[in-house]
Amino acid sequence: MTRRGLWIGLSLAAVTAVLLFVLAKGFGRDPHEVPFQLRGKPAPDFTLKRLDTGAPVKLSELKGKPLVLNFWASWCGPCKAEHPVVAMAARRFGQEFQFYGVVFEDTEENARAFAGLPDPAFPQLMDERSRMAVDYGVTGVPETYFIDAQGIIREKVAAPLDPRTMMEKLAALKQPAGPVSEVVR
């Protein structure tokens, strides 16, 4: 092989390798999956109104006990299927964990009808104009955030929770946290 041929061959091989690398990187992930960057970071603070009493609830006042935040809406079919799972966990593990629902893009009237007020299994919060949902990087409903006692987001589940996943995530939430990343504002 001539020197020129060798150079052309090497160049083509290099370009092909780079293309294959880029394609493999792209094909390796689900195009519908939205990345989540807040894992391991402090949960953004919020003050939301309780749906039942209208009293304000601040995240900073909830620290000290692990927190499960479940975003839902009455117009969301999968949320209806998931709601009993969260309600069951709230009844069973309410001593160890705090459970709050966050109403996403919905009216108070619809949310009240859906959540079974005035006797809900866990308190519901109204997120006016989804300000808090945007701060948390919510991409749709249902989505559930698992926040530890120090206020660090440990995990997010962007799908309806089944009992087994709920139990696994709650067990993981009791484990000690890794190093904390910088605060996101």
Binding site: E105, A133, G140
Partner: protein
């Protein structure tokens, strides 16, 4: 019946809320320009400025709030990438690995242009090809033995 079906269909959608109050024209233009750069999380390849979804409206509200609070464009893009990563940007920045995606097509185009230029130039600049050597007459050594009846038959056929 039609009203019932229509009611059922409409009930499955999020109640639409109007966007937040528009800013003055200059700052609102910034909001819209930034909204065009940010990917809607609930849609397929649409920007939050172009989408009608509730999540996109909520994000546009956030952009408007951040612009009103005096944040720079870079800080506002940073707010979204800190939550969704570079996925949030419809046009990924030309840094790091992304640089390959920007530079590779340019390099390939350049390589192709060089190859075409060299091919076009070669006949004019290349020295004239030496005259082809006349074919060497077949030597007796190459010839098959004359007593091969099959070859003789083929040759006789070709000579016709």
């Amino acid at each position: 019946m039609t009203a019932w079906v229509l009611g059922l269909v409409l009930a499955s959608y999020a109640p639409q809320q109007a966007g937040s109050t528009l800013l003055d024209p200059a700052r609102e233009a910034r909001v819209q320009a930034l909204g065009k750069q940010l990917r809607c999380p609930m849609c397929q390849g649409l920007s939050i400025a172009d989408s009608n979804s509730s999540a996109a409206r909520a994000q546009m509200d956030k952009v408007r709030e951040l612009v009103a609070s005096g944040r720079t464009d870079e800080e506002i893009r940073g707010y979204f990438t800190s939550r969704y990563g570079e996925w949030a940007l419809l046009e990924p920045p030309a840094t790091g690995m992304n640089l390959l995606v920007w530079l590779l097509p340019l390099l390939l185009l350049l390589g192709g242009a060089v190859a075409i230029a060299r091919t076009i130039r070669r006949p004019a600049s290349a020295p004239p090809a030496p005259p082809a050597k006349p074919a060497e007459p077949e030597t007796d050594k190459d010839r098959p033995p004359p007593d091969d009846p099959w070859l003789e038959a083929v040759r006789a056929e070709l000579r016709r």
